[in-house]
Amino acid sequence: MKTIGLISANYGSSEFGALLKDRSLASLPYGGRYRLIDFELSNMANAGITTVGVIAPTNSGSLVDHIGVGNPWSLARKKGGLFVMPGSIYGMQKSGSRFLMRDLLMCSNFFIKDDADFVIMSGSSDVCNMDYEPIIKAHAESGKPITMVYKKVPRGEEFHGYFLDIDENGKVNGINTESFGWSNYFADTFIINRKYMIDFMNWYRSLEYMDMIEIIKDNISTIDIGTFEFRGYLGKIKNPWEFLKVNQAMTDYDIRNEVFCNPERLIYTKAQDEAPVFHYPDADVRNSVISAGCRIEGRVENSVIFRSCHIAKGAVVRNSVIMMHGTIGEGAVLDNVIADKYVTINPGVKIYGGEREPVIIGKNQSI
């Protein structure tokens, strides 16, 4: 069954401060060399999906620069390929709405002109290596118009998002925004019959200010929705603390193997082609992820260092994320810090963030 993909990148979050000043969550740098949207683009590519639409945010500079014409995901094609479509200005204002009807209506041609059976739709801010093929298969077999993907999570109260009431036949009976204990957390991913999607947009055209999931929630008794349980790692990033945690998850052996080192489903990203990391004689790196092009002379622990950073002699970086081209001066100490691109920390400067409240240093800052 032919499936095309649609990724919503037109949303941000008010919780990230300087990190999302000029970008949407989709293009937030992650994991040393990635941007968050890489995971969805790779999941689509790895399922053999060759037509992918991306709803771009109004501040789309960093996103467009990163995904280009879609080469890393084999989307620079004659037939199908990558379609970057402008989203509405409301996307970045309404905090966190993934599937805003206004955005979907604006790109209705994407659904109309293709002849695919299904559209797999997703957000662009979760870290996961999700195999879409069994989801597409299950959806095709179910005959239902929509299949929602969820993950069972132990403490629903700590999650923000939607939770699914699922009956014994796997049908969604209700969608809630609050939950306690073990819950079925909606993974911002669903698959919908393309023709049903076109009908849906016609039916609810007047509710363009709403999120599509909200509309489904309000009309749940009239829509037959199936479910698919995702059992893999789902790194959700809704605030800086989660961002730090999900970065550090890369140091976990199982997560690293599942998400990043699965030879059948690699995570692709824009190639930068930096030199190998130079560990100097005094370097001391423990339990950390270091990206190409870095020069390490100091200490790094439980941290993620992006490409082309310089950690000078005597500097200590702990529990932190340093994005590309960061310069950490001699004797500087960083603990629980998230530094955006091109940050300079001058020699001897010490910055300590709280464990749940990392200090954020904006792009190009020198401290």
Binding site: D273, P276, V277, F278, I290
Partner: protein
Amino acid sequence: MKKKKMLAMLLAGGQGSRLYSLTNNIAKPAVSFGGKYRIIDFGLSNCVNSGIDTVGILVQYKPLVLNRYVGTGESWDMDVPDGGVHILPPYAGKSGGEWYEGTADAIYHNIDFIDMYSPENVLILSGDHIYKMNYNLMLEEHVANNSDLTVSVIEVPWEEASRFGIMTADNEGNIVKFSEKPKEPDSNLASMGIYIFKWDTLRKALLEDHENKDSSHDFGNDIIPKLLAEGRKLTVYRFAGYWRDVGTVQSYYDSQMDLMDDVENIDVFTGDMKVFSNSNVFPPQYLGREANIRNSLVCNGCTVYGSIKHSILGSGSVVLDGTVIEDSIILPNAWVGRNCRITRAIINEGAVVEDNTVIGDAEGDIQVFGETKLSI
């Protein structure tokens, strides 16, 4: 199409037999270098950094990895519509086919290819040298001198001159003599195997040389002496900088160590004349809680739990805990188990080193361990 000032022909067909098991399965230019590069990256990157966008790569020996690696040339920004990278294997014609029988013969068989672009000059390169060079500066001299052939030379110590092809030049830089590995050299200018020919001169020489039954069809042995005898204008271009032939295991080892130890001369880290590569998609390296990495180069995709001193870990290689690696080069995708000791050794691409293995020691020749395992 705009007429090309210069097209490059990169000789990449050699076996590199003195690299032993490193080239059992792959051509020498495709051998891994410096963790994430392959030897051919230096030549190809020099081309793109010199503004050359059309390169013919002459392949013959075990070209599979090389062909795949070069691909469309996209990694070197050479996927351009009116040029690009062309893999040129030997091929059959109406009267049958032949292998390339020498460096000049390889070019002879591709005269039609070069004619398609009809460039003013042709740059001949070897795909097995480590150096950074702007060929444009050489071309400028070549054009200013109105030379038929310009040979890039480098000064070598007099005592080593007898190991090289030596150019003897007059005060104006005109070549008066070429001697291959002379016992008593009268010059210390070694040919780097980098030539810029006027295409019409080279074309004529190749056609004539092909008819000569006594010729070995080699640039050094046949074409250069022939042009000298004809009284053509042959000049030297003096290159000063890092240049290494990585023909032996020792020189292959030494020049990789130079990436760490001699950064001033061969710098792959800073932006000037960047060396590009077609690297696979790997996550950034992960270094474990007990890892201890000092004075080493480590690539994307590595997972390290052991101790690494003054060594190079290639992309995607794994080193487990209790293992100590010193003064060694672990090629891409190799896997080194627990409690191993590797000293002054090269672990082949994709090789597996079982737990508790000891390889190499502080004395003696550099050891090469394992067979190259081809994978994607």
